[in-house]
């Protein structure tokens, strides 16, 4: 059976014949404006048309309206449709970005999120008239608690980074409540950039912990750095190298013995659902990325959500409001409410209750799969990653883009393009750009920083075997091509709507808006 999107031969490798999209000059919606055109109309005034000056004094009013576009509806639709086709997307082809978990976004979730009872519910509505929403949130919390192995949950953080900041502020509140002032937070050199950035925002100093030759935390190094000035250790497990840290219990004991908290970055949760739980590993605080393991679409950069699950000792500090359930008396149904009365809470991290629309989608996903299905998803994710790794370890790909840490991987793995750079003169960047011509989104490149010329690959469980084979075949073509003529990859891509862009100029003399 022919895979539906495998290319029979390498795509064109010259810029002589521009594609149709390449011939189209990028035009902004503002540039399409023609004075007097418009799309929407505003209802006519059915109340007395009092002069504005009477209602709002002139000195408080705007004299010249903002320069918004002047275009008709067909023009808007056509503009954004054409623009959309200048994007590669997950519904079109594989997107093996490491630590991003680009799994299929089920359309059922969009359908239920659009139900008026969810989409048209005002956040300031009285909780007694929003029982469906509160119950959904409560059930989502229970599900996350079970998956993470930690009983107390807040859905409030809006993204993973937001969850990390929450976790660190919870840590601070915890230590302060015990009369302690700690100033440092440990994080491995393989950690995602949001971890150290969050540490600084929470008022702590970052201290790096080394990685050992197996790819896990260097326990000796950790032991030398843990003391009573350390507030927290932030980890992810499996880590960004895609390997499970087998010393996790020892690490947890070390950290807890010193009184610090242990934080879990849930970006890699897709590897272990139903197989292991961060709470059981000893973590105190976990954030979960609903836009990763729980199928919320990435939207080109959000929205997502980063709910947190915490242990008993951290529970008092959780953000408000909390979602609470009361038993109905005499066989009546339980009721749900927001509880703002939590004296030790760190307070709010944002307005209202969080990204509820994301909760609806992730909740629908969890109910669709059930416990069995979530476990199966993780198993398939790990199977797919190991299979893809096996394919990529063959042939020239295996030779020029070898695995960085020689261990069975979990849901993702990291290759090093150092031999390709050294022997062929082709960098990881060039391989990635050539992959674009083959119709694939490249893996994550140049992360983690620990690996030279890194390629971090995460296929996820929703890729078919055929699509993994097609991806492996494309890698093999590209490496073979590079051996023959490295210049092809060095000047790729050739077939995308634009070719390599001058990023230096964009940052030297930034132009971040249209001049009107």
């Amino acid at each position: 059976m022919t895979p539906p999107f495998a290319t029979p031969s390498p795509p064109p490798a010259n810029a002589d014949t521009p594609t149709a999209q390449q011939r189209e000059t990028a035009t902004t919606i503002f540039e399409r404006s023609v004075a007097g055109r418009r799309a929407g109309s505003v209802p006519s005034c059915d109340v007395p048309e009092r002069p504005l000056d009477e209602l709002i004094p002139r000195n408080l009013r705007r004299e010249h309206g903002p320069q918004l576009p002047e275009v008709s509806e067909p023009e808007i639709v056509r503009h954004y449709n054409r623009l959309s086709r200048r994007n590669f997307d997950l519904d079109t082809g594989p997107y093996p970005l490491g630590s991003c978990t680009m799994k299929h976004n089920p359309r059922l979730n969009e359908k239920v999120a659009a139900l008026p009872g969810h989409a048209r519910l005002h956040p300031a509505q009285s909780p007694k008239r929003a029982q469906g929403a509160l119950e959904l949130m409560w059930r989502l919390e229970r599900s996350l608690a079970e998956i993470c192995g930690l009983p107390h949950v807040s859905l409030q953080p809006s993204a993973g980074s937001h969850g990390e900041l929450a976790g660190l502020l919870l840590t601070r509140a915890y230590h302060t409540d015990r009369g302690e002032e700690r100033s440092r937070v440990l994080t491995p050199d393989t950690s995602h950039g949001t971890n150290p950035a969050s540490v600084t925002m929470a008022g702590y100093e970052v201290v790096k912990v080394a990685t050992d030759e197996r790819g896990g935390v260097d326990v000796d190094d950790l032991r030398s750095k843990v003391d009573d000035d350390v507030a927290c250790l932030m980890l992810t497990n499996p880590n960004t190298l895609g390997v499970f840290d087998e010393n996790i219990r020892e690490i947890a004991e070390l950290v807890h013995a010193s009184g610090a908290t242990l934080y879990y970055d849930g970006a890699n949760l897709n590897a272990i659902m139903g197989r292991s739980r961060p709470g059981d590993m000893g973590f105190d605080i976990v954030h979960v990325n609903l836009h990763k393991s729980f199928s919320q679409p990435h939207g080109g950069g959000g929205p997502g959500a980063g709910p947190i699950a915490v242990s008993d000792r951290i529970e008092p500090y959780l953000p408000v409001p909390r979602v609470v359930r009361s038993e109905g008396g005499n066989g009546a149904a339980p009721t749900f409410d927001f509880d703002h009365d939590q004296p030790k809470s760190i307070g709010r991290l944002r307005g209202f209750a969080g990204n509820f629309g994301v909760f609806v989608r992730s909740y629908a996903y969890m109910r669709s799969l059930g416990g069995d299905g979530l476990t199966e998803a993780s198993e398939a994710a790990v199977l797919n990653a190991n299979y893809l790794l096996a394919r990529l370890s063959e042939g020239m790909t295996g030779r020029y883009l070898p695995l960085a840490f020689d261990r069975t991987c979990m849901h993702e793995f990291v290759l090093s393009g150092a031999p390709a750079k050294r022997e062929l003169g082709v960098k990881t960047l060039d391989v990635a750009k050539r992959l674009l011509d083959f119709g694939f989104h490249p893996p994550t490149i140049y992360f983690p920083l620990l690996v030279d010329e890194a390629l971090m690959v995460e296929p996820t469980e929703t890729e078919t075997r055929e699509s993994l084979d097609a991806l492996a075949d494309a890698f093999e073509e590209i490496v073979a091509e590079a051996e023959r003529d490295p210049q092809i990859a060095q000047e790729a891509p050739y077939t995308t709507p634009v070719r390599r862009l001058d990023e230096a100029s964009a940052s030297r003399r930034p132009v971040v808006r249209q001049t009107l």
Binding site: L60, N87, K103, L121, E164, G301, G351, D372, P510, R513
Partner: protein, 462 residues
Amino acid sequence: MTRYTSVTDADRQAMLDAIGAQSVDDLFEQIPVEVRLDRDLDLPPGLTETECFDHLAELAERNAHADAETCFLGAGMYDHYVPAIVDAITQRSEFLTPYTPYQPEVSQGGLQVMFEFQTAISELTGLAVANASLYEGPSSVASAAYLAIGATKGRRKLVASRGLHPHSRQTLETYARGFGAEVVEVGLDGGVTDAGELAAAVDGDTAAVFLQNPNFLGAVEDLEALVAAAKEGGALTIAAVDPLTLGVVRSPGECGVDIALGEGQSLGGRLDFGGPSFGFFASTGEHLRRMPGRIAGETTDVDGRRGFVLALQTREQHIRREKATHNICTSQALNALGGVIYLAWLGKQGIVELGELMARRTAYARERLAALDGVELLHEAPVVREFAVRLDAPVEQVLDRVAEDGIAAGYPLAREYPEYEDALLVAITERRSKRDIERLADALARAVRASRGEPAREEVPA
């Protein structure tokens, strides 16, 4: 159960053979025995798509939403009309499903949208530069505090008007504990920020002053005068504004602020019980390199084609790590797309007309309610989309009674503003017609009459 995987027994066998493993369990060997979950997850079994849909629909049924009743709720999010083209475009696979544009050659759609969005926000606020979105309003306020603390090198005081959304003030306080900063509140007088109190509160240790316009009570503030007072001490001036009122309200840029930001939900966003929406963030050019979040920049490709890339990435966490201007990674790109589509649809004329309509209807509604027996205005400052009234009856009872008439009359202020007893915040968007306003006036009058003299609900013994 529903599955989105495709792996059959035959697939699994072939793949295990290629890997050289006996079973899928082998692949999980590296998890130490003591941390393996040795039971099934205690979650309900999976549902078919039809069962799942029914369950979610049943939950939805138990929410009093804005299509089932007439909604006068505001308090930061508003029932504006969202044109059909917003969903039609944002539901497209090419916008819904890609990741952040790290490979710009195949992300020109998303990057150009960011550039257009940044342009629109810059235009609305009257400030030179804007980013591609933050999470939402209140956390954007806190993000501005982080910028101000960095920019003023060691100043630790944050002065915030009581007119700022309570969620913004609370969020600011939460984050401030991480920044090692202190939040000092300045009170209101006649519904607007007390200018004298503000001037007195700003000193050499003040990193930033936070104002909101229109403020939480719906009042249009004299932002320019307040900013002038605050600027004396070298503090940054930060204004939380509502984008949809900026057709008629003086822009924060014209008022001389350093940073303008706020909640973007009113630009084509769903109510969605509070999220997802987006936060916008704009500043003078001086603060560009300290700005949080993604910024798209214009450039050219090797063949001279116009294109867009993520610019100034060295501010961001993936490069700067502990020295990043902010920790944000995923923001609210899809909602920002909805925002720019909405603004294109509303257009240059539309935003002014909309502002004028809302101002007139809101003034009318305020007059009608003030004329009711047992209802008085909390303040008489100019308003554009929202106003506050005080009731001569327990507000919770009144709201319950009015709800029976299919109306959500407004947001009770007591929890966050205990000084305003039995007060209500009422929002009038372009969806609330004169007839709706009459219905509200009528229902409110009856409810106040019926609830008057009754003890507040909490006092009634169970």
